[in-house]
């Protein structure tokens, strides 16, 4: 303790703890002692630290010290939860429990730690309510459930501290809104509670500091304890002599070299951006795995048992490498990882740093990472991300106003926990940072929505879920209301998934799987919309194997092992991440700056050179628009470099305008850099013949009526509405998925509800919630406004005879937004014609 004398008095730590630190050869770190001092003084605090700084121990130290002094609350006849630990990941709670066991056991502390997640058996959950542990490790959903429990008052009144882990990841989400509301409720039940937020480095710490406090208590912001970054990470970009693909996200070309790196290192973590990419990487590694190294796969679609096995093996150091998706992004301790490989661009500086931080879980040693660009364009993106990360840039994440659908779920939850007074609840709700600006009228609308749907046509009064009783308090009408609320708690709306089963290889004569052969082992779950694209016989990659799709029976996908070495259906979407705007801007800079080209790999240089010859490289102020025919369709590609969200919005607006110009647009794709619209009519010819004007097409007036009209009709809005409707409790989750279970029952479609509600009550609170969600998260209006103003008079049109080099990557992107309106009819007519032509064709 001599070399690193902390400015804070280490005497805040009892002897038992000082000895324990010394016994492990550790010194209490400055931030740990600072956090301790704040907690003891009853001040909420935010700890910002890079990965590997001992954040978790810092968060729990004040609790352990206090419990050590009191001898454990449950031992002195005041049973109750002392500290609640909330994390976004179930796995994180398990991991933290493991990390806490050691100091508790070694110091012989009288502290009982238990976890509570959706996987916790009902008997244990019941026991936890009767005999709560000192420290409860749990998730936002579980806290919400406890708040709606009639025993909530008794459960929470003893709570002294709430530790929120990975706050930077939670706070910008609906789960964060849910937790912020729960925290406000806990403060009402346990007035002395102190919060501790743990976060990775962020660009705006004040937003998180505000999130942690109740301003009515006098302090507008939580105390800030910050640890400077450790050693700068060692991030390299994979160089290859092999041919770098034009597009795609596989990164297959690099895996031979990566395999050698895996051999050279102790444990390697390979991060992929999508499940498909993880599958492909895993598959390829095993194909070349001549030494049969223990290499495992981990992603959210795999069977949970399989995932736990991988996690356990990883913790015990039995694996040489794990291929993973973002399920492992957050702060799980994975033992001795000494190399992180990013398959493809990590899409943002913060993500690059956080993933890289998984290697060498110690502050003073540099973490080592290799980025593998999957295509020529990604080379530029990787360069940009590395430059941003090394410059210490953090992805900007604006604090967002809380969602009203989450508020509706919370209000009903509070009522399930016990009667509430609307005035008091309003004051409580607005003390939570995300809801600080909610006005009383909006709050009352939400309460009315919870009660009867909140419709102008007040016809559901007799079915009200909550009612204001004579004493002025709101109460649930009957126990069924609470029961159905409990089943539907949560803000994560999963895409409908189907179980993938390995069909037993009992084959009938025709070579098809006989019905009796069904009922095989479950490999995992797959999105329904992916299955919709398969026809029997198609091969696809799943759980590290190439499978042949046999049949869909009720909710089960039956597949068998295939001998094919390349899947026919190449990919399915899952966990795609948008590029952050800072990195997008840096990419644009690299492309514009011809002087920097020589530093790029030869193939990327060649690609940009080819673009210059075939089409052109736009100047910084220019908007390049290319038109060309391809595969029976006519494309228009606009290179905005404004990020995927803005391009998606722009794509919708442009398709509307192209439709009015009779170009018959059929759809579009958007990437971070550009958007491509395809149409039935030849747009090169239309522009040449003055039938279509690019200046008019990109005029700023599109942000008026067009925007509004589009948004209301869009599939995006309908999806958003669906999620809001489920979260707010308008419709129950099981109703949505009911069709398959009963075989022929007819589903309730939220699209139909949306259409009816929009026509009759366009200002209904649920539509307001959906619009706010869409405007905030799904469209990026501000950037479009700026871009349209900037490019006015600076449009360059290039009519081409074929696809340009720069357009190749976007045309291989997925995620198309259907076009609504007359084009649907055009398409239906086309489908009919196509099928007729196919039927009439001579053999």
């Amino acid at each position: 303790m001599t070399a690193f004398q902390p400015p804070v008095d280490a005497a805040v730590l009892p002897d038992r703890f000082v000895r324990w630190f010394a016994g492990r050869g550790w010194t209490p770190r400055v931030h740990q002692l600072e956090l301790m001092a704040h907690a003891q003084a009853g001040r909420d605090a935010l700890l910002i630290a890079p990965t590997g700084a001992g954040k978790t121990l810092a968060g729990f130290l004040p609790t352990l010290v206090e419990l050590a002094e009191t001898g454990g609350r449950s031992n002195i006849g005041v049973p109750g939860i002392h500290t609640l630990y909330v994390s976004p990941l179930k796995a994180l709670a398990v991991d933290v429990a493991r990390n806490l066991e050691r100091p508790i056991a070694e110091m012989g502390l009288p502290v009982r730690v238990e976890g509570r997640t959706g996987d916790t058996p009902a008997a244990r959950r019941k026991r936890q309510k009767e005999r709560p542990p000192d420290i409860l490790l749990t998730t936002p959903e579980q806290i919400a459930l406890l708040i709606g429990d009639p025993s909530a008052g008794r459960l929470f009144e003893t709570v002294k501290r709430v530790v929120v882990d990975e706050l930077h990841a939670l706070s910008p989400t609906k789960r964060g809104d849910q937790l912020a509301l729960a925290l406000a409720r806990i403060r009402a039940l346990a007035p002395d509670v102190v919060t501790v937020g743990l976060s990775a480095t962020v660009s705006d710490p004040d937003a998180l500091r505000r999130w942690l406090v109740d301003p009515r208590r006098g302090r507008p912001l939580a105390e800030l304890v910050q640890i400077a970054g450790g050693a700068a990470p060692d991030i390299s970009i994979h160089q290859t002599d092999e041919r770098l693909p034009w597009a795609g996200h596989g990164g297959r070309h690099a895996l031979g070299a990566i395999y050698e790196e895996i051999k050279r290192h102790k444990t390697t973590l390979l991060f992929a951006n999508t499940r498909a990419q993880a599958e492909l990487t895993f598959q390829e590694l095993w194909r070349i795995n001549e030494d049969t190294l223990p290499i495992a796969l981990h992603h959210g679609s795999l069977d949970v048992g399989q995932r736990r096995k991988v996690e356990a093996a990883m913790g015990e150091g039995r694996l040489k490498a794990v291929v993973a998706t973002s399920t492992l992004d957050l702060g799980i301790d994975w033992g001795d990882v000494d190399l992180v490989v990013h398959m493809g661009s990590p899409k943002g500086a913060s993500r690059l740093l956080q993933r890289t931080g998984r290697a060498n879980h110690r502050l003073d040693e540099p973490s080592k990472a290799i980025m593998v660009p999957a295509n020529r364009f990604e080379v530029i993106e990787c360069e940009a991300a590395r430059a941003a990360a090394l410059a210490g840039e953090q992805d900007a994440e604006a604090a967002k106003p809380g969602s009203l659908d989450v508020l509706a779920q919370h209000v009903l939850g509070v009522a399930c926990g016990g009667p509430f007074d609307a005035d008091a609840l309003f004051a409580e709700v607005t003390s939570a940072a995300p809801y600080a600006d909610v006005d009383r009228a909006t709050f009352d609308d939400v309460v009315a929505f919870v009660a009867t749907g909140g419709y102008a046509l007040r016809s559901y009064e007799r079915f009200a879920k909550i009612r204001k009783t004579k004493d002025g308090l709101w109460r649930v009408s009957n126990p069924q209301v609470a029961q159905s609320w409990r089943i539907n708690v949560g803000t994560i709306i999963e895409a409908t998934t189907l179980k993938v089963r390995l069909a037993k290889a009992r084959r009938s004569k025709a070579g098809t799987v006989a019905p009796g052969g069904f009922g095989g082992r479950v490999l995992g779950e797959i999105e329904e919309y992916f299955v919709e694209t398969l026809t029997p016989g198609d091969t696809f990659m799943f759980a590290g194997e190439i499978l042949k799709f046999d049949a869909l029976v009720d909710t089960d996908v039956y597949a068998s092992r295939s001998t094919s070495d390349a899947p026919k259906v190449p990919t399915y979407v899952g966990g795609r991440m948008p590029l952050t705007t800072d990195v997008a801007a840096r990419v644009r800079g690299i492309i514009d700056d011809r002087a920097s080209w020589p530093q790029l790999p030869e193939q990327t240089r060649e690609w940009l050179g080819l673009q210059q010859r075939r089409s052109l490289i736009p100047e910084p102020e220019q908007l390049l628009v290319e038109t060309f025919p391809r595969a029976g369709k006519n494309f228009l590609v606009a290179y905005t470099f404004e990020g995927r969200l803005a391009n998606q919005t722009l794509g919708m607006l442009l398709t509307r305008r192209l439709e009015r110009a009779h170009a018959a647009p059929l759809g579009f794709v958007a990437s971070d850099y550009c958007l491509a619209v395809w149409a039935l009519r030849d747009m090169s010819a239309m522009i040449a013949g003055d039938l279509l004007s690019l200046d008019a097409l990109f005029d700023q007036d599109m942000l008026g009526d067009d925007l509004e009209a589009w948004l209301e009709e869009s599939a995006l809005m309908k999806r958003t509405f669906r999620n809001c409707a489920i979260i707010a409790g308008l419709i129950e989750r099981d109703v949505i998925g009911a069709k398959r279970k009963t075989g022929r029952q007819v589903t309730m479609s939220t699209d139909l509800i949306y259409d009816v509600l929009r026509r009759h009550e366009p200002d209904h609170v649920l539509l307001r919630a959906a619009r706010a969600d869409a405007a905030r998260g799904l469209i990026d209006l501000e950037r479009i406004v700026e871009m349209l103003a900037r490019v006015k008079g600076h449009m360059v049109h290039k009519p081409l005879s074929r696809v340009s080099p720069l357009a190749v990557p976007v045309l291989l992107e997925v995620g198309r937004e259907p076009v609504y309106g007359a084009s649907q009819d055009a398409l239906l007519k086309l489908a009919a014609d196509d099928l007729v032509a196919e039927a009439m064709a001579e053999d």
């Binding site: 929505f449 009867t452 749907g453 909140g454 419709y455 046509l457 016809s459 559901y460 079915f463 879920k465 069924q480 209301v481 159905s484 919709e532 869909l552 029976g632 369709k633 059929l666 759809g667 409790g729 308008l730 419709i731 129950e732 109703v735 069709k739 075989g743 022929r744 007819v746 589903t747 309730m748 479609s749 139909l752 509800i753 259409d755 009816v756 509600l757 026509r759 009759h760 009550e761 209904h764 198309r816 259907p818 309106g821 007359a822 649907q824 009819d825 398409l827 239906l828 007519k829 086309l830 489908a831 009919a832 196509d834 099928l835 007729v836 196919e838 039927a839």
Partner: protein
Amino acid sequence: MTIRSARLTHDAIEPTLGVAGVALVADPLGALYEPGSGALIVADLHLEKGSSFARRGQMLPPYDTATTLGRLARLIATHQPRVVIALGDSFHDDGGPARMHEADRAAVAALQRGRDWIWIAGNHDPAPPAGLGGEAREVLALGALMLRHEPTAGAAPGELAGHLHPVAKVAVRGRSLRRRCFATDGARVVLPAFGAYAGGLNVRDRAFHGLFAAEAFTAWMLGDAGVYAMPSWGLRPD
């Protein structure tokens, strides 16, 4: 089944389906009109489905009945039928008629004025709707046609039925479209559900097995302005 003519009303393509020798005009709103008898046929109105859900705590917007009746009024204005026939499941449940708003009740009465109205019984509404005009029937013969709620298993030439809420799905040029449809093989028709909150069942579902000869049929998919024919072999399952 063939397209005999393409009659154009309000810019819509309204093909005529031939069923058991009877010509039926398919309206894009999802109804059949039989010019010979002046009968307008709709299936599965599911009126008061919203309030039916509300009873169980799911407060769906209470405007579905008005929306469905509004669309029915447009159909009636277009075709001026002598008789309207609802092929069952006109109400989502037995209590539906009693929960109906006065304004909606009046709308039904206005639509019934000057024409016959027949409620065919469905599984959701086995009893005739109390307090509303019109006659109730289990089944109805209309010339060579037999109208009922639930399609009978096996061949049933001349049958017009609902119950199954057919929708068809096609993939074209990299996109997929799912729309309500008429399913017919020229011998019988299954009509699409007409109700604002009525969901759909894919015609490739096994519930449709055995209805059409050799499982071959045509799905007449409802577009915004027309009805489009797709042979069953080109349709996708859900």
